[in-house]
Amino acid sequence: MNIIPCSIKTLKGLYDISGVEVGQHFYWQIGGFQIHAQVLITSWVVITILLGSVIIAVRNPQTIPTDGQNFFEYVLEFIRDLSKTQIGEEYGPWVPFIGTMFLFIFVSNWSGALLPWKIIQLPHGELAAPTNDINTTVALALLTSAAYFYAGLSKKGLSYFEKYIKPTPILLPINILEDFTKPLSLSFRLFGNILADELVVVVLVSLVPLVVPIPVMFLGLFTSGIQALIFATLAAAYIGESMEGHH
């Protein structure tokens, strides 16, 4: 019995030092639902950053682009190239979707890595990147699922479902399973990467507050960008896959 208070003491001391919080959320009650408010707040900030910068950059378009416009045109070109390589010839209608996915995830990840969210204290939990929460990534992944179903059905009609028995009917269960694993893998990959990044940084900061976390933070920036790119690329690839092979 002597061990318990001792361990409690050490644990408490550890928490006091680290201040690492996992699974702590700041709840809002909307209707019958419990909402993770910190995710909503950071999402709003990210949306504000995106919309504001776009509005500022595109407010006065020039033939020869000025700095902001030039940057945003470059980003647009990048997204268009990405969707073109993944989707193919009919990529046009999907550029907004892919671009939204990429920009939202990218800015979310980088805001988690660059903005000093922890300055603002919440009653529960703490502010972090929106993609740090599994709900956000699941929502994004399910949107991707809906998008590629819509793409396939609107392109091929009901013959879209022929792809489930495409090589042989034996693969039908696996093909059906794929529709579930796609959003699952998308959401878990993003969520896990971002959460791991931030946790590593937080833990390192709590252990050694200065200098040591910096390389890990750069690594976090790198992985964040890569994850956003991977998510957008995979979403585009799924959409392209469900649209291809139509004769």
Partner: protein, 183 residues
Amino acid sequence: MKNVTHSFVFLAHWPSAGSFGLNTDILATNLINLTVVVGVLIYFGKGVLKDLLDNRKQRILSTIRNSEELRRGTIEQLEKARIRLQKVELEADEYRMNGYSEIEREKANLINATSISLEQLEKSKNETLYFEKQRAMNQVRQRVFQQAVQGALGTLNSCLNTELHFRTIRANISILGAMEWKS
């Protein structure tokens, strides 16, 4: 085992920060590291981004310049083609005028020639008519003369007796004799 459960219970009831507020602990908010990261990012990222965007701008500029030049060249060509078109139209007008006057002259010549030949034809027609009339008159005259001679022969045959016959022969002989004498 109980130890572990207890620590989890403890975790669940970990006291929260309370309410909204500002965390002023510089180390806990990781401000210094964030500043360094953002600084490095801006310091290195700025150059890369600037290069990238400058390249893009230059590409756009050169594309615009190229198309401007192409446009200018095309406009020049259009101008040239228009000038040539005008010249050719002028020439065509000239040729057309020349052709018209030539045609007019030819027409006048043709009309002249035709009217001359028409006149000749008229003249020859008149002559033919005249000759035809003459011939018809001759024929009629011959016929009348023949009938008169026949009538005279009939009369002669019907009312010629011997004495009258002799007288006539004599008279004829004297005429013939006078003719022979004369010749």
